[in-house]
Amino acid sequence: MTLTATSFDWVRQLVHRESAIVLQPGKEYLVEARLLPMAQQRGLSGVSELVESVRNRPDPAVTRRIVEALTTNETSWFRDGDPFTALTSTVMPQLVAARRPDERLQIWSAACSSGQEAYTIAMLLSDALPNATTRVSITATDLSREMVERTRAGRFSQLEVNRGLPASMLVRHFTRAGNEWEIAPALRRMVTASECNLAAPLPRLGPFDVVYLRNVLIYFDLPTKQGILNRVRQIMRPDGWLFLGAAETTLGVDDNWERVVLGRGSAYRPKKGA
């Protein structure tokens, strides 16, 4: 049986309530494709049957899995390049000069997916700073529990290490574990992973010197984007740096940021007195 309009609507509302992700009409195919395996696993013939069964017997574990199944976790190493080039060429040198040597530099990969962004930063900084493992701490968060666990494990498939990771870094920072690759323990210790819903009041985090908030605002409506940018700014250092995804901007969303051109890309900094 194909997805009924009421079932789609129920999923759309659930996902919006729990994650703020907007599923526009027309995304029925996405709901169908992502939830069908889950329905079949439960011996149900289709997604509408799955929805019916949760509506009749609410189960937080199942609703969580539905929401997580509708997140898009696509990511890669050194994604878009520029935000990482800027980190080592401009951002880190300035921060290192501005902070006391015993002050930890705090970096946040918000919406970290399976951890490629956080470990890209860890690899770069461990190469760039002699004392990176003690000088830097990286917080990686995601809505999805599965993604947080994957980040914590620091294990990647062959297909994943093929996506943008320079071969020289693969051999230096990873060891094989069966047919997967495991990040070096010292780098894994630089990263602390936890669950965090960006669309809800934030847990006690930060204050952050650098925030990577990339390829996640695209899923939200304008008020949600505004709320997130505002809350993120509250837990950033006044001279901190924010990186957004290539298709994302604060312009026209939240005026309290100043856009700075860095090489071929750009970053955002909290406006003074905002």
């Binding site: 062959q158 297909l159 047919n179």
Partner: protein
Amino acid sequence: MTLSQTQPITELLDAATVQSICDEVWPSLVGDGEAFVPVPVPPPAELVSAWVDIIGPWTGSVVVTCAPATAEALTESVLMTRPPTVVDDEDVADALGELANVLGGNVKSVLPGESRLGLPQIGPAPARGRLDDVRALVGQWRGNYLTITVQGTAPHPSGTEVPQ
């Protein structure tokens, strides 16, 4: 390393690892959305195999076996041909051989020690050695019989083959 010290493939490689290799190879080499499903179906009358040898602390072959028609369909899928383009025997030997090569390389990389990989071969499946030195995944692709067999070439320790 003497024969008695060599562990059989069943000690070195579990079925889940072979399956996880297939889960990467099928969607990226055979095509988007394609999968090797480890649910057996009855074997067809005629079979064709492609394999690569692994030579090292463990020596043997990684063999892909299916019906000739399945091999042809695999080739069309790998090459993304559209009708009226047809694939010839050489295309099939080449594509099935490359599938064996990619599977073989990934299997080799999870085995202990340093090994070498041979070039792909095609024909009737090579003879098996010790019968306890075989890790076979019997399953299907698009409903058609297909097996992936990782089999040693070391003869049975007694020197005689155990009858099947």
